[in-house]
């Protein structure tokens, strides 16, 4: 009996200790590995279509990768370089043209629902001109590749060394929705750096595995 | 198969030592002795071979040490050599302490586990209790009645000589 009382006291004491500690633990979170993370984006942008089918170069949109540590997400104005003209899929436009021909009327402009979001974000009117009365609202993409804050990654060095985008981002040109391909765990980085020192495409590369390359 | 055991209980350390010796001398082979504490000279008296556990201790200790020193060398000098305070890649002297500790750990743990194994001890094992007092203050000498020279009367005589407390015959059904 007394042993049981003892046990109870011990349990209660450790409970109190946990209570003292637990409230401070909010926000303590393990940096996890999010391989395969493919969040739904505000606009269903397809890398398969753009990078795969249409063969748009990665650096066309992510041009900052050459000059900045961040590859960057293209500004809406970059999208408009093409989507000023292309407002819907080829099929949808064809369909409308056929319908119009049948109905003997002028084809109506077709805007795909996803591109509509882009135009709305830019505050464009029906004729794709800026309408000052419409509010502009930047597109809030969900970041797919998140490194912990204690890791410094710089796209410049990798692009300059000739590392293909796919080496880390995987077969983006086949992804309908962007997905984290690699684990992005430290070992994955380190092993690539080790191999890179043997050269990338025959080009000598200096990929340090010093801790201070990424952590400072 | 049935096994017959002839058991004599004794109360005194000298008696059990003496009777064991006497029984052996008389040509009986002792199946086992049950005692509340370790008795010196009994293993010789009943002709038990020295334990081979020191070999386990030595070999596994050696193995653990060898593995550890290799592991330390491999991690520090080969798998990912990192410059720590300008120390040489192969800092063998610095590996000695951990190697020693792992050696002791391996040797000690493996010896104990080997002991459990050879003595067939495990948590919750059902004990072969001859008498609850053998863990308290009584000694038991067990002879198995398979021996050709087995003669209960002769035995009884020897037992009496050494102040036997009780004699018991036990039959056990055992799977071989």
């Amino acid at each position: 009996m007394r042993d049981r009382i003892l046990t109870a006291i011990l349990l209660v004491a450790s409970g109190y200790a946990a209570l003292a500690v637990a409230p401070r633990m909010n926000g303590y979170r393990l940096p996890g590995i999010h391989q395969g993370y493919a969040p739904v984006q505000p606009i269903a942008y397809s890398h398969r279509l753009h990078a795969g089918e249409l063969q748009v170069a990665c650096l066309y949109c992510h041009s900052a990768a050459e000059r900045s540590r961040h590859a960057g997400i293209p500004a809406a104005s970059i999208c408009m370089n093409c989507h000023k003209q292309v407002t819907a899929s080829f099929g949808a436009v064809r369909q409308e043209e056929e319908l119009a021909e049948k109905a003997k009327r002028k084809p109506r402009p077709v805007v795909s629902p996803e591109l509509g979001k882009l135009y709305a974000a830019l505050g464009l009117n029906q004729t794709l001109d800026r309408d000052p009365s419409l509010p502009q609202k930047p597109i809030s993409w969900v970041r797919v590749h998140n490194l912990p804050d204690f890791v410094y990654f710089d796209h410049r060095a990798h692009v300059a060394a000739g590392v293909a985008c796919q080496t880390c981002h995987g077969p983006v040109e086949t992804m309908e929705r962007m997905r984290q391909h690699a684990s992005l765990a430290m070992g994955w980085c380190v092993n690539c750096h080790r191999e890179a020192n043997r050269g990338i495409n025959g080009k000598a590369v200096e990929a340090s595995i010093d801790c201070g390359t990424c952590h400072f | 198969m049935t096994r017959r055991y002839f058991i004599g209980y004794f109360d005194h350390e000298d008696d059990i030592l003496g009777v064991s010796k006497a029984v052996c001398k008389a040509g009986f082979s002792v199946a086992d002795v049950y005692a509340p504490y370790a008795l010196h000279g009994l293993d010789r008296a009943i002709g038990l071979a020295p334990s081979k556990l020191p070999w386990v201790c030595f070999l596994l200790g050696l193995l653990g040490a060898a593995f550890k020193v290799w592991f330390e060398f491999w991690t520090t000098a080969q798998d990912w050599p990192i410059n720590v305070g300008g120390k040489p890649w192969n800092s063998l002297p610095a590996f000695v302490p951990v190697t020693f500790e792992v050696m002791v750990l391996c040797a000690g743990l493996s010896t104990v586990f080997a002991f459990f194994f050879v003595s067939r001890l495990w948590p919750g094992k059902k004990p072969r209790l001859l008498d609850p007092a053998v863990t308290d203050d009584r000694f038991a000498l067990v002879l198995e009645a398979t021996d050709a020279t087995y003669d209960p009367r002769l035995l009884e005589g020897i037992f009496q000589q050494f102040h036997v407390v009780r004699v018991e015959e036990r039959v056990e059904e055992r799977k071989v």
Partner: protein, 458 residues
């Protein structure tokens, strides 16, 4: 067996005990309800433990800044307590292993509790390296395990990693050694119980021990082997602990004398703690027949010898510093004795060198009260020895610009108190849960010093 027994030998166990009496004497307290004294002691210990738990919870939730440390003195109470407890933890293995190998049979009365003391002290010691960390939840990074960081291993050149392995090994081996000794006794207890849950439990813990001599024979071998392993282990552990300091560059730490000095100090403090505890246990558990003044006398002599060793080390350190012509080294020792923390140095020397000199006198050695007092003072002195080594060396090292002082906060003091609470809580539970005296070993030495009389009877 034509053995000649000396008449000069006095029995190790008093009271002409028979084997059965021993069993009863030791087992009965476990079967009775705890005494009032036990409850008072337990409540005190548990309160201290709770205080420590609260302090550590606060530490974890707020940060190491709740201790009085600073940029210059990065270790103080934490590592002092660590070395103190690990030192305490040396006597158990010493008594069970080294004295076993040296065939000092008087050890049987005290080895069980000394070993338990070792284990509990190592638990207390092991806590401090953990809680002293800035991010204790990452303590597992001390262990080399394959990981996703490209397999980033640990720094095997770091004495802290050595420490980690040494303490882990020492703890494991001590527990195994202790448990091995406990198995036959648990069987004894089991056989005194009526069939039921407790008996099943006891049988579970004693691995179905039945006293077979084949087992006893292996058991003896294993015990000897573990004693053989434990002896260098116990030396290595405190050697490695001393390397935490000796391999550094800090004057006052960087000394080749540290390993033997620390080992001697550990045995010294451990013996003192054994004395403290044995005198307490003797009175608390009424074991006057088993722990006799002879035991105390022998342990006092060991204490006296190690006190001399420690004193020699103190003197050698000073001599080395003076002889070295190393300005940093010389200063640190002047500072140790006459600097701002000089008082701690003088507590240390008086408790560790002067007080034990009283043990030269039989009258002191035979007075349990006096020995108790001496042992407590030695414990205090040995705590201060570690404090002196750590704090006085750190607080004034190479660059005078970074000299600083150190004052503990109440949180640190509470943590120290808590470690004593943990130690005594565990020890008191130990007194209640397992035989305090190694039954099977004591039974083996009952005849010691009394055979002649029996022979007369025969």
């Amino acid at each position: 067996m034509a053995t000649v027994y000396s008449e000069l030998r006095r029995p190790l166990i008093r009271g002409e005990k028979s084997t059965g009496e021993v069993t009863r004497d030791i087992s009965l307290p476990l079967e009775r309800a705890p005494s009032l004294g036990w409850w008072i002691a337990f409540l005190a210990a548990f309160s201290a433990l709770s205080l420590g738990v609260a302090a550590v919870a606060y530490l974890f939730s707020t940060g190491v800044g709740t201790w009085g440390l600073n940029s210059t003195v990065g270790w103080a109470f934490d590592i002092t307590n660590f070395v103190f407890w690990i030192g305490i933890g040396h006597a158990g293995t010493l008594i069970s292993a080294i004295l076993f190998l040296l065939r000092q049979r008087w050890r049987t009365s005290v080895n069980r509790s000394a070993e338990a003391m070792t284990i509990f002290a190592v638990i207390c010691a092991g806590l401090f390296p953990l809680i002293h960390m800035g991010r204790p939840w990452l303590a597992f990074w001390m262990f080399p395990y394959p990981n996703t960081r490209g397999s980033l291993w640990v720094n095997f050149r770091s004495p802290l990693v050595w420490d980690f392995f040494a303490i882990a090994t020492y703890f494991t081996i001590s527990v195994v050694f202790w448990y091995l000794g406990l198995m036959p006794d648990l069987a004894t207890i089991r056989d005194r119980l009526k069939p039921g849950l407790r008996r099943t439990l006891m049988n579970f813990f004693c691995f179905g021990w039945d006293g077979s001599y084949r087992t006893w024979s292996h058991y003896e071998t294993v015990y000897k082997l573990l004693a053989g392993l434990g002896t260098p282990l116990v030396v290595s552990v405190h050697t490695i602990v001393s390397w935490d300091f000796a391999t550094s560059v800090i004057p006052g730490w960087h000394a080749t004398i540290f390993p033997p000095y620390f080992v001697a100090g550990a045995i010294f403090s451990g013996m003192a703690m054994v004395l403290t505890l044995m005198i307490l246990v003797r009175n608390l558990m009424h074991l006057e027949d088993y722990i006799t003044p002879d035991h105390v006398d022998k342990m006092c002599k060991v204490t006296l010898v190690t006190s001399g060793l420690v004193g020699l080390a103190y003197a050698t350190e000073f001599f080395t510093a003076m002889y070295s012509a190393n300005r940093h080294e010389q200063f640190i020792f002047m500072n140790r004795a006459f600097g701002p923390f000089g008082w701690s140095y003088w507590i240390m020397t008086s408790c560790n060198l002067l007080v034990p000199q009283t043990l030269w006198f039989r009258r002191i050695r035979s007075s349990l009260g006096a020995v108790f007092l001496v042992s407590i003072l030695i414990n205090v002195g040995m705590w201060f020895e570690r404090f002196v080594i750590i704090v006085t060396s750190l607080h004034r090292d190479f660059l005078p610009s970074s000299w600083w002082s150190y004052t503990p906060t109440p949180i640190e003091v509470a943590t120290l108190v808590g470690s004593f609470g943990l130690f005594f809580t565990l020890f008191l539970l130990f007194l209640r849960l397992v035989p305090v005296i190694a039954l099977s070993e004591v039974k083996g030495v009952l005849s010691y010093g009394r055979r002649l009389k029996q022979g007369d009877e025969a």
